[in-house]
């Protein structure tokens, strides 16, 4: 313990050097910018600034580049809350209640809670990283294909709590998402599936085009300007910050989101996306007022935003303590370290203590900087909502197009977004919720790959899922949750879903002519 504190002090002595502080700030600034702009994610930001760092030493370079990464997680929620454009897959859930809050004039509160939640989650993640990185890394390595499969099954079980529409409609949407996720080249056999020989579809249908289409463009299609004319949302300046009640409601979701997100985040691979979905489902399940979700529940912003930020910090665990690039972003950060002559690996901490601890310490500093940077920006961002809708919605369409094009620089993605916008319009007409569709799309390719990898490993024996302890535990949790929801369906006459539809019928009754 004592040595950790000594090392951390060494790290802070590096991180507080004025020029290091400057580069950390630059990284956070660029990160906020690329986070706010839809489509231009951390990956693009880092790879663009990579050549700029050639003249710097390894410590400054990695501090700046990592600042872009975790800084972008703060900005990711902005367009989701203000315009219902999910800039990246992990902010899809924020669209639901964040945008609903903005509709009620609480955009400032939503943005502030997202920033504070991100700060708490990020700091929690770094504390865990400081204290427990080696054992956590050992845990992460135990996560092979069978454990991954089990985790995704758990994610599918949470589907039941995702949506306020009836269970059958939720499952139908999830099926559509799973089917969309099947598009592309089959990793195990090399066959093209539903891709019509288009190489651009070989890696499947992107999550961002689908989410931006369903949420962002879909919203615009079903909102003609004459419906919003006159009711321009003009939040008063004094209403920018969350109320005491809103803080109280978001405290526990932030705490739970931080822990959940961090645990999912350290698992190698792309599962960190599902952390925000799982957090949303958990908050809804635990909430006393589940009917508020989807209509501006504070917990629906606080939980997923914290989970998503903690997950991004968790992803550093395998990278820093094992030198394993488990995702695309850690891969580019590792490449950056290598270009600067520091080879990340199990011995990084002993061979380059200054780089390692300076990096850790800079993340404490960087998270604080981001909070101080983002809170004042809330006022600026909220003023976007003062723009008249007739001017605003064409600009939103522009951001939708840029956002999906810049992800892969592929025009097909823009067409997918447009098609999904039309689908989103009809889903709304027919009262289907698009969120389970996106979750299905996220889960399908990784679920299928890990299931089939597991079966390759075991030679086709399903017992592998029971023999490996982590996967057995995760499957047991899934079974328990299923049993619990069955039980409540049979024992109680009214579960929350029934109450919910009654509540909705109640609120909608006066508006029916």
């Amino acid at each position: 313990m004592g040595t950790t504190i000594d090392s951390l002090l060494l790290g802070f002595s590096v991180a507080f050097q004025p020029d290091v502080l400057l580069y950390a700030f630059l990284g956070c600034l660029v990160g906020t910018l690329v986070g706010v702009l839809p489509g231009v994610g951390p990956l693009a930001g880092i790879s663009i600034l990579l050549p700029v760092t050639f003249g710097l030493d390894a410590t400054k370079a990695i501090i700046m580049l990592a600042g872009i990464y975790y800084g972008s997680q703060y900005g990711g929620s902005t367009t989701s809350i203000l315009m219902r454009i999910p800039g990246e897959a992990s902010s899809v859930m924020t669209c639901l209640d964040g945008f609903a809050m903005a509709r009620k004039g609480r955009a400032g509160a939503a943005l502030a809670i997202a920033a504070v939640g991100s700060f708490v989650a990020g700091t929690f993640g770094i504390v865990m990283l400081t204290l427990l990185a080696p054992p956590l890394a050992a845990f992460a390595l135990r996560f092979g294909p069978p454990e991954y499969t089990a985790l995704l099954v758990l994610g599918l079980v949470f589907l039941a709590y995702m949506s306020s529409t009836s269970l059958i409609k939720t499952l139908l949407m999830a099926c559509v998402g799973l089917l969309l996720g099947c598009v592309g080249i089959d990793v195990m056999s090399g066959q093209f599936r539903y891709a019509f020989d288009l190489k651009e579809l070989a890696d499947g249908v992107g999550i961002v085009p689908v989410a931006v289409g369903l949420f962002g463009l879909g919203e615009i299609l079903s909102t003609p300007s004459r419906k919003v004319q006159g009711e321009v949302m003009q939040p008063k300046f004094s209403e920018l910050m969350p109320t005491r009640e809103e803080w109280r409601q978001s405290a526990m979701p932030i705490a739970r989101g931080s822990v959940l997100g961090f645990l999912v985040g350290i698992v190698p691979g792309s599962a960190h996306i599902i952390s925000s979905f799982m957090s949303y489902a958990i908050e809804r399940r635990l909430s006393k007022n589940p009917e508020e979700f989807g209509h501006g529940a504070v917990a629906g912003v606080a939980g997923p935003e914290s989970a998503n930020n903690a997950a991004s910090t968790g992803a550093f665990v395998p990278m820093l303590s094992l030198g394993l690039p488990t995702g695309p972003i850690t891969a580019v950060l590792m490449a950056a370290l290598m270009i600067h002559g520091v080879s990340p690996g199990p011995q990084l901490v002993t061979e380059h203590p200054k780089v390692f601890w300076g990096f850790i310490a800079s993340m404490y500093v960087g998270n604080l900087m981001l909070l101080l940077l983002n809170l004042p920006l809330v006022g600026l961002f909220v003023s976007v909502l003062r723009i008249r809708y007739a001017y605003l919605y064409p600009i939103i369409i522009m951001f939708c197009i840029i956002g999906v094009y810049e992800v892969n620089h592929s025009l097909i993605d823009v067409w997918i977004m447009l098609i999904m916008g039309v689908v989103g319009y009809f889903l709304r007409k027919f009262d289907f919720d698009p969120a389970p569709l996106v979750l299905g799309l996220v889960i399908a390719p990784i679920f299928e790959l890990s299931l089939r990898q597991s079966l390759v490993m075991s030679g086709g024996d399903y017992m592998i899922f029971a023999q490996r302890p982590f996967s057995a535990v995760l499957f047991a949790i899934s079974a328990l949750l299923l049993a619990m929801s069955m039980w409540s369906a049979f024992s109680k006459r009214k579960d929350w879903r029934v109450k919910l539809s009654e509540a909705e019928a109640g609120t909608e009754a006066p508006s029916q002519k």
Partner: protein, 148 residues
């Protein structure tokens, strides 16, 4: 019989399921011990059709299709056509021209906003975004026929 909202939705999903199974005809299903590329799509397609049949049976309480309001359809159609035009022109005409025209067309042509403000906003937003992405963030923007 009254055609209800859920009837249409369920039928559309059943048709989608059939399309998926037919298009995936050439994909081997595999065995449970070694799933083929066709297993997941066909299983999910089957489950989806079964659920859709369930929805069809339980749809008695959903509102009749005639009560759906379509007053937002003209707006939606205009936006879809405008976005499609922008997508078609995006890599041919380049970012500044396409997006400038899209903004101007929607703000001035569709929303009938004053000419001066429409022009200022379309040109200003397009230019600012272009400079921000291209110069500051060095994102490769689609080059058009004019070379920028």
């Amino acid at each position: 019989m009254i055609v209800r909202r859920e009837h249409i939705a369920a039928c559309a999903l059943i048709v989608l399921g059939i399309v998926v199974v037919v298009l995936g005809d050439d994909l081997p299903f595999g065995t449970p011990a070694s799933p083929g590329p066709g297993m997941l799509p066909k299983l999910v397609g089957g489950v989806m059709m079964a659920l859709a049949v369930g929805l069809l049976l339980m749809s008695a309480s959903s509102p009749p299709i005639t009560t759906l309001e379509w007053d937002d359809l003209p707006h939606a159609l205009i936006v879809v056509v405008a976005t499609a035009a922008a997508a078609a022109g995006y890599t041919v005409l380049g970012f500044p021209i396409t997006i400038g025209l899209l903004l101007f067309g929607l703000i001035w042509g569709v929303e009938r906003m004053p000419l001066a403000t429409s022009l200022a906003i379309s040109v200003g937003m397009t230019g600012a975004t272009y400079l921000l992405l291209k110069s500051l963030l060095k994102q490769p923007m689609p080059p058009g026929i004019l070379g920028f």
